[in-house]
């Protein structure tokens, strides 16, 4: 039916492993750009699929000639840049294992990763990073070769540049060597493609072994289709598995990845007009903040129009969600009630439609343009998406595809799609993935369980996964592997969740973060923290209280917001001393938690202390701004003890 619809052809390359993917992508997409980087003069430098493969081959050949063996871990200590992609192509094509990490890691972590993986060769982002490695050389005797990715720099003594390696390889290829192609052809899909050391929120780093089959399955099962007309903006760290998977997926589809940075993010959204991107909740929080600030400063008429449009958007989408069966269903619901809800929603839809149509065109379109205007959606990972942010962007017409996964599952287990966008959940499972919900204490399988109502839907327990994306294990750590991976291939995620009655996965918290109070009640800190953080005055909230009588919290006030709210203070230290602030925050927390349907009595924050220093990325926060609870517990042990053991204070 050409008259009605012209289909949107998607492009995709089926490959068995990454080296084959790079080759096939070059054959299919040739001179299309695979990656692009911003230059100083605001123009962008493209790297074509052909160039990516050919240069990758040369680098791979060069790596072989400097002694890199098949399946050997090769480090890449760098943040996002196009040379990262080239280094990866080189590593993959010579069948080595990319072991990536950003440069914001502590010396301890660096030494641990290098020594634990037995790494002999590593790429480093720049000469600063190279010098850091050289300084620590005595602690990592195995690391012989450092390769500087930044070709514009003069490299320190004893360090190679990427150009050096590439030209060695080019020379050998010109002399007729084809060692790199032999290596590529010998790769098997069960071979490792990457060894990723997690900067998890708990414990020491573990090396997650991911195979070619793992990552290829993710591209094959991806529920969102991209094509060679798509532009993907890259803002998450490339060594993070979600971004990594997206980039590999983009290569499969022929889409171009544009590297941006936090500093240029707003500008690049307008320049590149991305159609898709991987993102973390923090990003949308700040974009929403920017939009709302602009609205507050706008003319009152415009402000009113915006809020009318927003509220119409919210009600319109809600009606659509119900009509499409995408409402959150935590309890079983009868067919009659579903039908009734749909009738009500249909009426709501008809009434709102013309008004929404007008306001969507007149107001919301210009808001969407702040995000480039072409976004078909964004996949959000690396932390739960606060519900008001979720609602906000869905209402203005940017679909938030929240997903769920871990490094160990390369990473996607479940993700919302445009057709199955159930708010409050992380969507349906991706194809080929099995899940079960297991009772933490008794080990009983709650879902799927035919003895239970609705096959066990709506019951809460630990999420366990089986599928082609589950890792081979932790590198050189059988004990840790056995803890999470059983013989049948079931992987314990350590997260709590349930399957809703319309078959979406809802995440309820991290079992490892669960606070068990002295009376035996379990408290999930994430929900509490997210609710409390909705207060503009509160930048960060960490709930504590393991083995204590009540839940308590550490609060980091937002200095800017507090100053705007009338607190005169130059620094955080000054601010937290003010008794008025304590009263204000107390009131805010009280208001946030007073709904008994939302929070049970024992979940309410009983006492709190202020933090007087912002949390730092790499110390208390992971690079994705997730709080490392164990670090907080160590650092602020005194403050926490003060709250949870009030007797001590009275003595």
């Amino acid at each position: 039916m050409d008259v009605l619809m012209e289909p949107h052809p998607s492009t995709f390359v089926h490959a068995r492993h990454i080296p084959e993917l790079y080759r096939l992508a070059a054959e299919k997409y040739e001179s299309l750009p695979a990656f692009a980087t911003r230059q100083k003069d605001r123009s962008w430098e493209p790297l074509t699929f052909r160039k990516l493969y050919e240069r990758g081959r040369a680098i791979g050949e060069g790596l072989i000639s400097i002694g890199v063996e098949p399946q050997e871990p090769v480090g890449v200590f760098s943040d996002n840049r196009v040379e990262w992609a080239l280094a990866d192509a080189g590593i993959q094509l010579c069948a080595a294992v990319n072991t990536p990490r950003g440069i914001e890691l502590t010396d301890e972590e660096l030494v641990y990763i290098v020594n634990h993986s037995g790494m002999r060769t590593a790429f480093v982002e720049n000469s600063r990073m190279a010098k850091r490695c050289l300084k620590l050389r005595s602690q990592m005797p195995g690391l012989h070769i450092l390769i500087n990715l930044d070709n514009k720099e003069t490299v320190p003594e004893g360090v190679l540049s990427l150009n050096n390696v590439e030209s060695i390889g080019t020379k050998r290829l010109n002399e007729g060597s084809a060692a790199v192609d032999t290596r590529s052809d010998a790769v098997k899909s069960e071979d490792l493609f990457s060894l990723i050391y997690t900067s998890g929120t708990t414990g020491k780093p573990k090396g997650v072994m991911l195979t070619h089959a793992n990552i290829i399955s993710q591209t094959e099962c991806a529920p969102v289709r991209l094509s060679c007309t798509d532009r993907v903006l890259s803002i998450l760290p490339i060594w993070h598995i979600l971004e990594r998977m997206l980039e590999i997926y983009s290569v499969s589809c022929g889409a171009c990845t544009y590297y941006t940075s936090a500093r240029y993010f707003g500008e690049d959204l307008k320049q590149v007009e991305p159609t898709f991107m991987g993102s973390a909740p923090r990003l949308w929080e700040s974009l929403r903040h920017r939009i709302l600030t602009a609205v507050e400063k706008a003319h009152p008429v415009r402000r009113t129009l915006f809020y009318i449009a927003l509220s119409l958007g919210i009600h319109y989408r809600e009606a659509v969600f119900v009509l499409r069966g995408q409402d959150l269903r935590l309890r079983p619901i009868s067919r009659i009630k579903i039908l009734l809800n749909k009738v009500v929603a249909a009426i709501q839809w008809v009434i709102i439609l013309p008004w929404f149509g007008f306001f969507n065109a007149a107001v919301l379109e210009s808001v969407r343009r702040k995000a480039g205007g072409s976004l078909k959606g964004t996949i959000s990972g690396g932390g739960a998406l606060p519900s008001e942010i979720d609602q906000f962007f869905n209402a203005i017409g940017i679909p938030m595809l929240e997903g769920y996964g871990l490094t160990e599952t390369s990473p996607v287990i479940a993700v919302r799609t445009h057709d199955r966008l159930v708010r409050g959940t992380v969507g349906p499972l991706i194809p080929q993935t099995e899940i079960r919900i297991v009772d933490l204490d008794l080990g009983e399988i709650l879902y799927p369980n035919s003895a239970r109502r609705g096959n066990g839907r709506g019951l809460r327990g630990e999420i366990q996964v089986k599928g082609p994306q589950v890792m081979r294990g932790y590198y050189k750590d059988d004990e840790a592997t056995q803890e999470v991976l059983d013989d049948d291939g079931w992987f314990r995620t350590g997260d709590l969740g349930m399957i809703t009655f319309n078959d979406s996965l809802k995440i309820l918290g991290r079992s490892k973060a669960t606070i068990v109070l002295s009376n035996g009640e379990n408290v999930e800190p994430e929900n509490i923290e997210m609710r409390v953080k909705m207060s503009p005055l509160i930048a960060e909230c960490i709930a504590v209280g393991q083995d204590a009588k009540h839940v308590c919290a550490l609060i980091l006030p937002d200095l800017e917001a507090c100053r705007e709210a009338g607190f005169a203070a130059e620094t955080l230290e000054d601010l937290v001393k003010q008794p008025e602030l304590r009263d204000r925050i107390h009131e805010q927390i009280h208001n946030a938690m007073q709904n008994p349907l939302e929070f049970k009595r024992f979940e309410v924050i009983h006492d709190f202390r202020f933090l007087s220093r912002p949390l730092e990325v790499g110390v208390e926060l992971t690079n994705l701004f997730k709080v490392k609870r164990h670090v907080i517990h160590d650092r602020y042990a005194d403050l926490i003890r003060e709250m949870v053991e009030p007797e001590v204070r009275h003595d």
Partner: protein, 352 residues
């Protein structure tokens, strides 16, 4: 047709309508710059295709509909008048959402607004003669009805005054012009809603007593216009993004101009009532039909638009010597030759 005793519009409504015409035309001017006129010369071929579509097909469609449905003379004249009108700024907005080439839409609006000064009276004179004769016969032997060509030209000139005013404001104060443009859009909507509301409240029986051919005619005029604009421009070699712009520009007419002409040039009360009713019906139906058409075009054009946009963004980011080559067989033949659908070529003309 309409009972001559029925007052379709009260004096206050007419005053409101006049103010609305003034504001909308001023807003239209505020959205235009001299560059828009120059741009017309940058794509003469496409503007000419648009011209044929707007002043060639549309009046003919109106004439054929009038004859085929055997419409009463006053209704036929109103319908033909609607067919001979220039495009307005509404079509530019719809063009944006239909993934059409907005620049072309603006060029067509600009060109047709100027050309309407000659074309509208000329075409009216040409196509309405069978119907003016009928009116003269009905009036009896002692009077003849003559098309008030002079008055029509005068109304068109009068309507252009606020447009020039808007353009002058835009020239000297872009910020205020933006406000004027948006206010006009919003006011236009509110006044239309008010007029419709009061008209329906007072004359809801009118809706039921209107004979069906008039509904068919007022609905079809826009729809057939869209259809002709879409496929005829394709035959004449327009790319999909241009087809969509030309189609919408053809079907959506500048109705405020119609109201101005009817109010100013046809003082005969009976005739004016009938003509106003036709213009009102067209205004209502065109909003609905162009919304639906826009949604359809948006869906249908999703792919070629993605290609067009991606190609243009590549050129913008990687420099104009960059050429985006899509995989063989990926693009339909029509856009494979030039994935930018002519846009890059136009830009290169400007740079030289």
């Amino acid at each position: 047709m309409i009972d001559p005793d029925v007052k379709l519009l009260y004096a206050i409504d007419k005053a409101l309508l006049a103010v609305m015409i003034l504001v909308i035309m001023f807003g239209m001017g505020a959205s235009l710059t001299l560059a828009d006129f120059k741009n017309v010369l940058r794509r003469p071929r496409l503007v000419f295709i648009g011209f044929i579509s707007q002043f060639g097909f549309m009046p003919l469609i109106a004439l054929v509909l009038s004859l085929a449905l055997n419409l009463p003379p006053a209704v036929a004249i109103a319908l033909i008048l609607l067919g001979c009108l220039p495009g307005g700024t509404t079509s530019n907005l719809f063009s944006y959402f239909a993934r059409g080439q907005v620049a072309l839409s603006i060029s067509m609006t600009t060109a047709s607004t100027v050309l309407a000064l000659f074309m509208t009276p000329f075409l009216l004179q040409l196509y309405t003669s069978p119907f003016t004769q009928k009116i003269s016969e009905q009036l009896g032997s002692n009077a003849t009805f003559v098309m008030p060509t002079k008055d029509i030209v005068l109304s068109l000139v009068l309507v252009l005054v606020p447009v020039c005013g808007g353009m002058i404001l835009r020239r000297f104060h872009a910020g205020w012009a933006k406000v004027a443009e948006e206010t006009a859009g919003f006011m236009g909507m509110i006044v239309i809603v008010y007029l419709l509301g009061t008209a329906f409240y007072r004359h809801h029986t009118l809706l039921f007593s209107t004979p069906w051919p008039i509904f068919v005619a007022t609905i079809s005029l826009g729809l057939v216009g869209f259809l002709f604009g879409y496929y005829a421009s394709r035959l004449l070699g327009a790319y999909p993004i241009q087809q969509r712009a030309i189609s919408l520009e053809t079907g959506i007419q500048n109705t405020p101009v119609a109201f101005a002409i009817i109010l100013l040039s046809f003082p005969n009360f009976e005739l004016q009532n009938d003509m106003l009713w036709v213009a009102i019906l067209y205004s209502i139906f065109i909003v609905m039909s162009s919304s639906c058409i826009t949604l359809w075009m948006r869906k249908r054009g999703a792919f070629d638009w993605d290609v067009y946009q991606n190609t243009l963004i590549h050129a913008r980011l990687f420099g104009h010597q960059w050429k985006t080559d899509y995989p063989k067989g990926y693009l339909p033949p029509r856009i494979a030759r030039d994935p930018s659908q002519g846009a890059l070529r136009e830009d290169s003309i400007r740079r030289d």
